[in-house]
């Protein structure tokens, strides 16, 4: 894997100069990519490194997004530098009890439990109209970035300029931190649990506790990504917590390849641009995506990354 640093360097440089090279439309498509990139880094700590598939990650994405909306519209907090830690904290508070319960189960039971919690929160967002705005959701006001309000910027200029670079900075930081985590003694313990929980326990690794830590970290990542997702649309609504949104997260990871560290990032990128392309030519895009998913699972279980790099 000596080519990895080179590829990373080229990709980073391309992302850095992208707003100068391509039309704003494509630059704005990079925003959900970067937001989901953060979500997926966390999701894959649970999936690729710990061996647990969550079907309820939309729960934490929506917690992050709604935290941003509540802070900007109701509490007058506009600093994105405050919104992100608040989103992380809110997710951690929710993930502590939810995770403690879910990690007692594995495989399909874990998946179903996480899905159930996601749907509970979806219903809460939908029905508690006064608190959450119900199906219309809430507005997400333009947050200030790097200590400035960017008041003179049009929405597009704001998104393809400061917001783009802010998102990129968050994604880079999230990537670096996750890189440290998977390369740490803690990361190794997670891998032992993924590969063989029985053996891990016999070596003294407390399986439920480590699963719980991984769950918390992945929830925090999901919320930070979720908070990044809201400003470009300017609105948050309950579909963020809906189970199909969780399904998209799983899809992205499978598309990119869960067995590799960068696979999920590639998956997020491919998903966003593929969705945009397919939607513009064919209204039934889910049909195409279903076929793609079936193809990946049967023919290329390593995802796109599995096609490029052999482990």
């Amino acid at each position: 894997m000596r080519t990895t640093p080179l590829v990373l360097g080229v990709v980073s440089a391309a992302i850095l100069v992208l707003p100068l090279m391509v039309p704003p439309y494509y630059v704005t498509l990079m925003l959900p990519f970067m937001a989901y990139g953060v979500v997926l880094l966390g999701f894959n700590l649970l999936f690729g490194y710990t061996g647990l598939v969550s079907f309820g990650h939309a729960l934490f994405i929506s917690i992050g997004a709604y935290t941003g909306a509540v802070l900007t519209t109701k509490l007058g907090v506009r600093h994105m530098e405050l919104i992100l830690p608040a989103a992380a904290l809110a997710a951690a508070l929710a993930a502590a009890p939810v995770g403690a319960l879910c990690v007692r189960y594995v495989k399909i039971y874990f998946g179903m439990l996480t899905l159930a919690f996601g749907m509970v929160f979806y219903t809460f967002l939908l029905k508690f109209y006064r608190l959450t705005g119900g199906d219309e959701g809430m507005r997400m006001l333009r947050p200030s970035l790097f200590g400035r309000e960017w008041a003179g910027f049009s929405k597009t200029a704001y998104l393809v300029g400061p917001y783009y670079y802010f998102s990129l900075a968050v994604l880079l930081l999230a990537t670096l931190v996750m890189w440290r985590i998977v390369g740490s003694p803690f990361g190794l313990c997670l891998k032992t649990i993924r590969d063989n929980p029985l053996k891990a326990e016999s070596l003294g690794v407390s399986v439920p506790r480590y699963r719980w830590y991984a769950f918390m970290i992945s929830a925090v990542y999901a919320a930070v990504g979720g908070a990044l997702l809201a400003p470009p649309t300017g609105n948050v609504d309950p579909t963020l917590a809906y189970w199909t949104h969780s399904g998209n997260v799983v899809f992205m990871v499978l598309l990119g390849g869960f067995a590799s560290f960068f696979g999920p990032l590639l998956g997020a990128f491919a998903f966003i641009f593929l969705q945009d392309t397919v939607m513009s030519v064919f209204p039934y895009w889910r049909l195409i995506f279903g076929a793609i998913l079936a193809f990946i699972v049967i023919v290329a279980p390593g995802g796109l990354m599995g096609l490029f790099a052999r482990r």
Binding site: I181, S184, N196, K199
Partner: protein, 250 residues
């Protein structure tokens, strides 16, 4: 007395697996447990390693009751085990497997942002054990691609990496070719000496291995201890030979 079981009984509903088994293991001993299928060996192992709690009686390790305490607490107390069906981490390399055991022993699993590569103690100890078990030249091989004998060694080696005081080996040579069995045992016994293990308990079917390495043999039959004696005495015990060992096997 490092490990002591007193009058262990285990019932599963109406079925009784053990009818009052007592045994003890002293420092420096290599003890083998033998018995035909259904004698209660698996249940006894599960009781001795704290996986199950006995219905009656107790198991004491270094004077502490370890009935049903579970594998994690057991490892921390200083008892390790290997499995009858080889247990490995398929996608981890030999070295990573051993590193995981060192990380666990040193209690460093909570280090979220520390570099595993930069941890000299973890790296060093893992390499040491790989060397001790003759796995050093396969240090970077994923465990799933190892030959069966090496998988078995890795399973045991990772248990040794915990530097336990006592180790319980569940059929350490099952699945290993007859030609390699003695080589595996020599490596095990040599490593045990180097690490300073206080006692080894093994459950084994291969009578060559049992008689070749044990200081003492405990024969189980239908949930009871049939005999508990030196290899020479066991060989001379007609009942054990008839019911457990089989005349042809000698």
């Amino acid at each position: 007395m490092i490990l002591e079981a007193h009058d262990l009984r285990k019932r599963y509903g109406a079925f009784v697996a053990l009818y009052g088994v007592s045994l003890s293991v002293r420092e420096g001993e290599f003890v083998s447990i033998i018995g035909p299928n259904g004698a209660g060996k698996s249940t006894l192992i599960n009781l001795l390693t704290g996986v199950l709690a006995p219905s009656e009686g107790h198991v004491r390790f270094k004077g502490r009751d370890i009935g049903g305490i579970g594998p994690v607490a057991l490892a921390r107390l200083g008892m390790a085990r290997s499995f009858q069906l080889v247990q490995i981490f398929p996608d981890l390399t030999v070295l990573e497997t051993l590193q995981a055991a060192v990380v666990s022993r040193l209690g460093r699993g909570g280090r979220l942002f520390a570099s595993l590569r930069g941890d000299r103690q973890v790296q060093g100890e893992a390499l040491e054990v790989a060397d001790l078990f003759g796995l050093a030249d396969r240090a970077h091989t994923p465990a799933r691609t190892l030959p069966q004998g090496d998988k078995k060694l890795l399973d045991v080696a990772s248990a040794f990496t915990l530097r336990p005081e006592i180790i319980l080996l569940d059929e350490p040579t099952s699945g290993v070719s007859t030609a390699d069995k003695h080589a595996v045992m020599e490596i095990l016994v040599g490593a045990a000496r180097r690490i300073g293990l206080k006692a080894i308990i093994q459950v084994e079917h291969d009578m060559d291995i049992v008689f070749g390495y044990s200081d003492r043999i405990i024969a189980l039959h239908q949930g009871r201890v049939l005999a508990d004696a030196t290899p020479a005495a066991i060989r001379a015990d007609a009942r054990v030979v008839d019911m457990v060992i089989g005349r042809g096997a000698r």
